[in-house]
């Protein structure tokens, strides 16, 4: 049971998320945007209000859904024109880039209902506002929210990098907790630097909560150099849509002070629960179980930690038939996934050259030596089986004899050999499972958190 004196007010767009889960033949459709945070609060049994932004055709569905899932007070804060607020999500598991596409985003217009919103805010009681801004929001919206003096404004800044670079719109707003994730454009495709981030945000926020996907979370405090490292406690990931939003909401419901380690850890546990299923009643039961964990267990439970900047230093050897005459879309995809998460995949053929039949023995030895040197620089091997490539199979054996962890990614399901099936640390035909295992092997080594 969470002890809360007043509800949380959720403000932001409600979207329609459309995606296909692995193993499914049908597309799925569910309310997204701030519905993820709302679903989580309902699962935790925490009171909340909603001021939503959406096109009119969704209003009845939105209000019906929220009323059946615990909302106290609800209003439409702004109306969307030009865009249906539909998000197509290419990879809901976030093995790599989720390929998130908001339809008709370039012609989306949002019209604020200022009088309605201001009256709603004055009539409802709440202590915290959790706001998920978008670049299409009218600037008056954040002004209305930030001038409310009886509550604290918290922001998830994933979709508005300008907020960070402008230092809170040049000091116009003050924020309690600022949430950001490594899924945001501040990190990918080009990382703008942690020092730039930290140098900007504390002019307008009290704490920065940086969510790093399967690598855990870090919390940075304004006062002094305090940084908390919070592990990820992964479950079998069914989806990665809205998981960070659920983390934000849980943290605000639980926190008693800034940099509340217990609240951050339990939020990480609850977020994993959200990612484990799309069945809401199962999710609720699971979250209630999470809340039953003792404080002592939550504070000492080990998980996996792998900060964003540390990953670039981790070399991952890609053993695969990366020859110019081989069709290899699975290799390209997995390498992209690794780069999305800021790892450093090493592809020996691209770095050292491709052996050819005309090479003499001296050239072959040179290539072999160069490839081995790369292997020695790597902490982990991912072997991608596109067919029974002799080199790949030998490399697997060499890596295991050196004590290097090996993941075999078998997208074409061709493994038909006892040693190949049992020797590696993990054999999978699923890209998401491959990426999760990378985090598990490398992130789980840091048992101090």
């Amino acid at each position: 049971m969470i002890d809360m004196t007043k509800p949380i007010l959720l403000v932001g767009n409600v979207l329609v998320d459309v995606f296909t889960l692995p193993g499914d033949s049908e597309k799925r459709l569910r309310l997204g945007g701030i519905a993820h945070a709302a679903r989580t609060l309902w699962g935790l049994g925490v009171d909340y209000h909603v001021a939503y932004i959406a096109p009119i055709y969704l209003h009845d569905n939105i209000e019906d859904y929220f009323k059946k899932h615990g909302v106290n007070c609800i209003c439409c804060a702004a109306e969307v024109f030009g865009s249906p607020n539909i998000a197509l999500i290419g990879d809901p598991t976030e093995a790599g880039d989720q390929r998130y596409e908001l339809l008709l985003r370039e012609i989306k217009k949002v019209v604020l209902k200022s009088a309605i919103l201001e009256k709603f805010i004055s009539d409802c009681e709440f202590k915290d506002i959790l706001f998920f801004p978008e670049i299409t929001d009218p600037p008056e919206l954040i002004s209305i929210l930030s001038k409310n003096k009886t509550s604290t404004l918290h922001i998830d800044a994933n979709n508005i990098p300008d907020l960070i670079d402008s230092k809170g719109f040049h000091g116009q707003i003050k924020v309690g907790s600022l949430f950001l994730s490594t899924s945001s454009c501040f990190f990918y495709p080009e990382f703008k630097g942690l020092s730039r981030l930290l140098g900007n945000v504390f002019s307008f926020c009290e704490e920065l909560i940086l969510k790093e996907n399967r690598g855990g979370t870090r919390a940075f405090g304004k006062k002094g150099d305090i940084t908390l490292s919070i592990p990820c406690f992964p479950r079998a990931i069914m989806h990665s849509v809205g998981v960070g939003d659920g983390f934000d909401a849980t943290y605000l419901a639980l926190k008693k002070e800034d940099l509340d380690e217990y609240a951050l850890r339990l939020s990480s546990i609850v977020a994993a629960s959200y990612a484990a299923t799309t069945f809401v009643d199962d999710m609720k039961d699971d979250m209630q179980l999470c809340l039953g964990m003792s404080r002592k267990d939550v504070l000492c439970m080990k998980g996996q930690c792998l900060p964003w900047e540390d990953r670039k230093k981790i070399n991952i050897y890609i053993a695969a038939p990366d020859f110019d005459y081989v069709e290899k879309p699975e290799l390209a995809y997995l390498v992209d996934c690794l780069k999305y998460h800021n790892f450093f995949p090493r592809l020996p053929i691209r770095e050292n050259g491709q052996a050819s039949e005309s090479d003499n023995i001296f050239e072959k030895r040179r290539l072999f030596d160069a490839d081995i040197r790369i292997m020695d620089e790597c902490s982990l091997m991912i072997a991608i089986l596109l067919y029974n490539d002799q080199g790949t199979l030998v490399e697997i054996g060499m890596a295991k004899s050196k004590g290097m962890p090996v993941i075999v990614y078998d997208p074409r399901k061709i493994i038909n050999n006892l040693f190949l099936e049992i020797l590696p640390d993990k054999v999978t035909s699923d890209a998401e499972e491959t990426i999760s295992t990378v985090f598990s092997i490398l992130g789980g080594r840091k048992f101090g958190v």
Binding site: E26, L29, T277, T278
Partner: protein
């Protein structure tokens, strides 16, 4: 089935689409979570076997079909599987099974057996099956 299909919003609490076991016949997955406490879990590969008490003490692995149990308390922050005969820790459950801690808080306990071992000296491995004990 947890929001399957695009005809309408269907993931409402209290409906067949609210639970994996709701069974509206549409097929597909949707995930775990919920009341997994009473489910048996098969073929779990334990972690850190080579650095745990059993392997270090005996320089060997437990035999296939040995009885095991899940320790009710965290050991160094992890869920530990013990050999029932010796009481020594064989290895740890992967962190994705941490939810079992919540289940144990609800009164569940788990026992099982060793289903396989690979006694490769540089990378010893043990797999167990677990089930809630009655």
């Amino acid at each position: 089935m947890g929001s399957t299909g695009t005809g309408r919003f269907s993931d409402y609490s209290g409906t067949p689409d609210g639970r994996r076991s709701g069974g509206n016949g549409q097929g597909g997955s949707g995930g775990s979570g919920g009341s997994d406490c009473d489910r048996a879990i098969g073929d779990i590969q334990l972690e850190e076997v080579g650095r745990c008490q059993f392997f270090i003490t005996k320089n060997d692995l437990p035999q296939k079909h040995s009885d095991v149990s899940l320790d009710s308390e965290l050991v160094s922050g992890r869920l530990a599987i013990k050999d029932q005969k010796s009481g020594l820790i064989i290895g740890y459950l992967p962190t994705r099974y941490n939810y079992l801690l919540s289940c144990m808080n609800e009164g569940f306990s788990y026992v099982g057996i060793v289903n396989s071992i690979v006694n490769e000296k540089t990378f010893p491995r043990v797999w167990v099956d677990l089930a809630p004990s009655v």
